[in-house]
């Protein structure tokens, strides 16, 4: 059974690499469901990925992320570049259901064979992404999409996970963001490489952009004196309209300047660090998952259940229980 699944995964990977869109779509489903087939496929695809520019797009619900992404796709397609989009929307914590509505704004690209748009439900993952987002991005990367937009769920002030998985983080801000104090709060704006003030056609949008510019760049001088202290990013602030397309080619050019593959390699140290962090988080996630599976395995089940009971009744502290389970796993398997 496992053998058959692995074989199916490899076939999907090969066919998706050769341009089979149906296979690519099926593969993404396997990845979302975290199946054996997906794992086999990623073993093939992962070494072939790593050259795409992963652009994270985040911002509050209704800021215009999807519309702006659609507009960026239009600009990239005007230059003949293939583009993929992963659009994440929240799953209901109650029923597990989801409305994946980002596509509504992007349907003008539906029939373009060089655009691939995929919606993903967050399925219980918090932080604005889905558990399988990084793996899905690697698959699209390996299947010939050099530019990939990852649109997060609508975020609040502190869902900054996207910045640790994307090469470049674009924060979309709507003009009604509040005053300068909002711009100096910690969180989302700190992890932006570029802030796009969207809905630039609305009155007051230019004022928002200049407030943000003033507040976000104010610490630059202080940074230089700070030595090795961790510093927030100093994002470029651009005024755009996803709806009319005004400013979008300029935004795409600003993103392209941050493409790790670009010649001038601006921020390439940061990119290397980001990719390192991404790999670390990915590995940690897979290790945790594998560990969980092993502990649920029939051979360890009773021991695991006993530990859970002991912690639940406060008979044992969770640290001691965890150490004991780990030691038992290693002594039995090693």
């Amino acid at each position: 059974m496992n053998q058959a699944a692995a074989e199916r995964g490899r076939r999907l990977a090969e066919d998706a690499r050769a341009g089979g869109r149906r296979s690519l779509a099926r593969l993404l489903t396997e990845i979302e469901n975290r199946t054996r087939a997906a794992e086999a496929a990623l073993r093939v695809l992962y070494p072939l990925a790593g050259s795409a520019h992963l652009v994270g797009v985040t911002g509050a619900p209704g800021a215009g992320k999807s519309t702006l992404v659609a507009s960026l796709v239009t600009a990239a397609r005007a230059a003949g570049r293939p583009v993929a989009v992963l659009a994440i929307d929240p799953s209901s914590p109650i029923t597990g259901g989801a409305i994946l509505g980002d596509r509504v704004r992007m349907q003008q690209h539906a029939s373009d064979p060089d655009v691939f748009i995929r919606s993903m439900a967050s399925r219980g993952h918090v932080g604005g992404l889905a558990t399988s987002t990084v793996a899905a991005a690697a698959a699209l990367d390996a299947c010939g999409f050099p530019l990939l937009f990852i649109e997060t769920v609508g975020t609040g002030q502190s869902e900054v996970e996207i910045a640790s998985i994307a090469d470049t983080t674009l924060v979309v801000q709507s003009p009604e963001m509040g005053d300068e104090v909002q711009a100096i709060k910690a969180g989302l704006l700190e992890v932006a490489d570029i802030v796009a003030v969207n809905k630039g056609d609305r009155p007051g949008a230019d004022l928002t952009a200049s407030h943000l510019r003033a507040m976000l760049t104010v610490g630059a001088q202080h940074d230089r004196a700070a030595g090795d202290r961790p510093r927030p990013r100093r994002p470029e602030v651009l005024l755009v309209s996803g709806l009319t397309g005004t400013g979008v080619p300029e935004l795409l050019a600003a993103l392209d300047r941050r493409d790790p593959a670009a010649a001038d390699g601006r921020g390439s140290d940061r990119t290397r660090r980001t990719r390192h962090d991404r790999a670390e988080a990915q590995l940690a996630g897979i290790l945790a998952e594998r560990l969980r599976d092993r502990l649920r395995d029939p051979s360890h089940r009773s021991e695991t259940d006993a530990a859970v009971d002991a912690v639940a009744t406060h008979a044992e502290d969770p640290y001691t229980a965890a150490d004991r389970l780990l030691a038992s796993l290693f002594s039995r398997d090693g």
Partner: protein
């Protein structure tokens, strides 16, 4: 995993602007635990078929109130078949005269849900009729 949510595309082919039903159904199916991709108004058969392919959905639900169902729906089922998605369940809802239902069924639409259908009925139908996938 057998407990993965069923993924449904809700689309409105053609030119009518009556999307309340589609939105109510999308919302209702969300509450029933489905993952619902909503593509909005005025979709061509080609846009719907491409979206179904890229999203790898189990079900395509088409809401149509314009009277153009005999033209548009068979075109969508044909495009789905041509791209290897004959196993995807296609259902329709909206204003569709009874005498047209057999024609649509012959074209590959597996069920037509008229006005007054409850969301529970639709959800139960989908749960029973979506083909299980290989694992």
């Amino acid at each position: 995993m057998s407990d993965r949510p069923i993924k449904v595309l809700i689309a409105k082919p053609g030119l009518d602007g009556h999307d309340r039903g589609a939105k109510v159904l999308a919302r209702g199916l969300r509450d029933e635990g489905f993952e619902v991709v909503y593509t909005g108004l005025r979709q061509t058969p080609d846009m719907i078929a491409s979206a179904a392919l890229q999203e790898d959905v189990d079900v395509v639900g088409l809401s149509i109130l314009s009277g153009a169902h005999l033209t548009l729906l068979p075109r969508i089922t044909r495009l789905l078949r041509e791209q290897g998605m004959a196993d995807v369940l296609v259902t329709a809802g909206g204003i569709i005269p009874d005498e047209d239902i057999p024609v649509l069924e012959a074209a590959g639409v597996s069920a037509v849900f008229g006005p007054g259908t409850s969301i529970g009925e639709v959800a139960a139908y989908l749960r029973t009729h979506v083909a299980p996938r290989e694992t």
